[in-house]
């Protein structure tokens, strides 16, 4: 299965009933596949006139209580930021997929990790967070998209799948976990708007003009975000206890680093890998613990250096942090990583 198709299948299995999108490479397989599959299943598919319209259609679908998804790639995700901020403000659940490409501007169509800041630090205006999941295999494209819908409903929060053109285009077998159950389809959305029959009329908004109202709302969001930090951090650590040098990488970069680390271990070098799966909430504690035991940390990203800032905050001076980058849609090879680690 192709990475982009795994996103679709994960979404469909999770009970995504509405998809809204606009074409952009390298994620065109998603709207194409959804246009066929969703219609076959009697679900909603709309090709919107822009990413702006698509994210606002998601807003409407989410308001009505439906599980909604949109997908795009970097330039299109920039256009969605207005809507994402409104969704976060109104606490509406939805899933947004970013199959990243090189930027800034129109950039290129190669896979990239240049939207880390945009995804994890806001992107749109105001004080808010998204849950950001970073798959590194086709299987995770399926699994994490599936998970994203439950997380979104559980916390009433937009969830972003931050992947890239390489994982999106990658072909791999996917074994579907038979234990997957759509969990929060049972969650009662007692906030949704579906007509006020038998109840008081409801209101959905992000405009809070009452004296002190928005401050209160923001503190409420903060409390929710702190709760998510306590329970939803996901990461994978390889050889955390016996590594003198630990590589920190996410998504496709982690995939390349993982095999480099494996080769170096075979040569007898004490190297490890830490892969954040949730980019927000960020696995600060796990990285801090590893830093306490490591001599050095190497952050490898396909950008000019974004996650490295969060790693440095987590490491907080416990050990030196080095960086290997590949911006503009470039990819580093296993050999480059091996050479870099050997030089450290």
């Amino acid at each position: 299965m192709k990475g982009n198709i795994a996103v679709c299948e994960g979404a469909i299995a999770a009970g995504c009933t509405t998809y809204f999108g606009y074409p952009i490479t390298p994620q065109n397989e998603i709207p194409a596949y959804m246009s066929k599959k969703m219609v076959e299943l009697g679900r909603v598919f709309v090709q919107a006139e822009s990413e702006l319209a698509a994210i606002n259609m998601v807003f409407g679908a989410a308001v009505s209580g439906s599980r909604a998804m949109t997908s795009s790639s970097s330039p299109g995700i920039s256009l969605k930021q207005e809507g994402i901020s409104y969704l976060a403000g109104a606490e509406l659940p939805c899933v947004i997929v970013n199959v990243q490409r090189g930027g800034p501007g129109l950039g290129n169509i190669s896979g990239s990790q240049a939207d880390y800041f945009q995804a994890t630090k806001g992107g749109g205006h105001g004080d808010y967070r998204l849950i950001v999941l970073a798959p590194y295999s086709v299987k995770e494209m399926y699994d994490l998209t599936f998970l994203a819908f439950d997380l979104a409903d559980n916390y009433r929060i937009p969830v972003m799948i931050l992947t890239d053109g390489i994982v999106g285009q990658m072909m791999e077998p996917v074994e579907i976990n038979p234990e997957f159950r759509v969990q929060s389809s049972e969650i009662k959305k007692d906030w949704k708007l579906d007509g006020c029959k038998g109840r008081e009329p409801r209101l959905m908004r992000s405009l809070i003009m009452e004296e002190g109202g928005l401050e209160k709302h923001n503190w409420h969001l903060k409390k929710k975000y702190d709760g998510i930090k306590k329970t939803e951090i996901r990461c994978e650590a390889n050889f955390p206890d016996s590594a003198e040098i630990t590589v920190v990488a996410f998504g496709i970069a982690a995939r390349i680093c993982k095999s480099a680390v494996k080769k170096l271990r075979q040569e007898g070098l004490k190297v490890g890998l830490m892969r954040p799966v949730t980019l927000w909430p960020f696995p600060e504690k796990a990285i801090s613990d590893i830093a306490a035991k490591s001599k050095k940390i190497l952050v490898a990203e396909m950008n000019m250096g974004q996650m490295v800032e969060d790693v440095k905050l987590a490491v907080n001076g416990k050990c030196p942090v080095e960086f290997l980058g590949a911006p503009g849609g470039a990819v580093f090879s296993e050999d480059e990583i091996i050479a870099k680690i050997k030089k450290l």
Binding site: T18, E49, F59, G60, A61, G65, Y86, G195, M204
Partner: protein
């Protein structure tokens, strides 16, 4: 004695905060009356704009969501596609619908979304203090056209009914005003038809209402209704621009 003037159930028991002589309050009430008459209050979802009517949800007594500036037609699409048996309408000003949200309204109309749009044209941006809107008429003074709108620099007033009636997805388009009791009645008839079309699954309907904004026009309420009748409706002639209720969405 027969009660002739009472509060519609679809309106909350509250005074609105619009300026004296503003058209928004009248249009809110007409919509509430129509929703009551059609008996659809409990299955209606309204979409409020960004503009003076952003607080419409404090006055209506049914489900209402906000939308970002100009995006109500996209939000309405999302809701209606999920809940096709509900009544979904957008309420939008001329800045919201005809400037920042031009793409959303054209494409919702062109897709023939089975929704209703009430488009309030008051020839300026009321909420932000009376700037030029796409519907500001030539020569009209606003805070950003201090010497009057000049076609050379500012372009021409955008005629939404004329523009949208060329689209195949559109079922019904009419322009009305609320300047006189007679016009209010006509507006009510048009708005009712626009909602009935949705109930009959006819596709997209839009009613443009020429509306007074005495505050930003710097007129008295009386002068402002006169201006609607004598000036504004010359650029924006009242009438039915499209009616194709035969068309039923499959």
């Amino acid at each position: 004695m027969k009660k002739v003037f009472s509060k519609p159930e679809s309106l909350q028991d509250k005074n609105n905060s619009y300026c004296p002589g503003c058209g928004h309050g009248t249009i809110h009430r007409i919509i509430a009356e129509v929703i009551d008459e059609l008996g659809v209050r409990e299955k209606t979802i309204g979409i409020a704009p960004v503009g003076c009517a952003v607080f419409a949800y404090y006055y209506w007594n049914f489900d209402v969501t906000e939308a970002a500036h100009g995006r109500p037609p996209a939000v309405a699409t999302g809701i209606k596609r999920c809940l096709s048996d509900r009544v979904v309408f957008t309420y939008q000003g001329d800045g919201d619908l005809a400037a920042i949200g031009t793409a959303e309204i054209i494409h919702a109309a062109n897709r023939g979304e089975n929704i209703t749009t009430i488009f309030v044209n008051n020839a300026n941006y009321g909420m932000t203090g009376g700037q030029m809107a796409p519907t500001t008429i030539l020569g009209q003074k606003t805070t950003t056209t201090p010497n009057g709108r000049d076609a050379k620099r500012d372009g021409y007033p955008l005629k939404v009914c004329e523009l949208l009636s060329s689209l195949d997805g559109v079922c019904y388009i009419e322009r009305v005003s609320v300047s006189t009791p007679k016009n209010v009645l006509r507006t009510k008839k048009a708005i009712k038809k626009a909602f009935e079309n949705q109930l009959n699954n006819c596709g997209f309907s839009l009613v443009e209402v020429l509306s007074q904004c005495p505050t930003d026009w710097q007129m008295t309420p009386v002068e402002s209704v006169k201006w609607v009748d004598e000036v504004l409706s010359k650029t924006f002639p009242l009438g039915v621009y499209k009616e194709n209720t035969e068309q039923t969405r499959k």
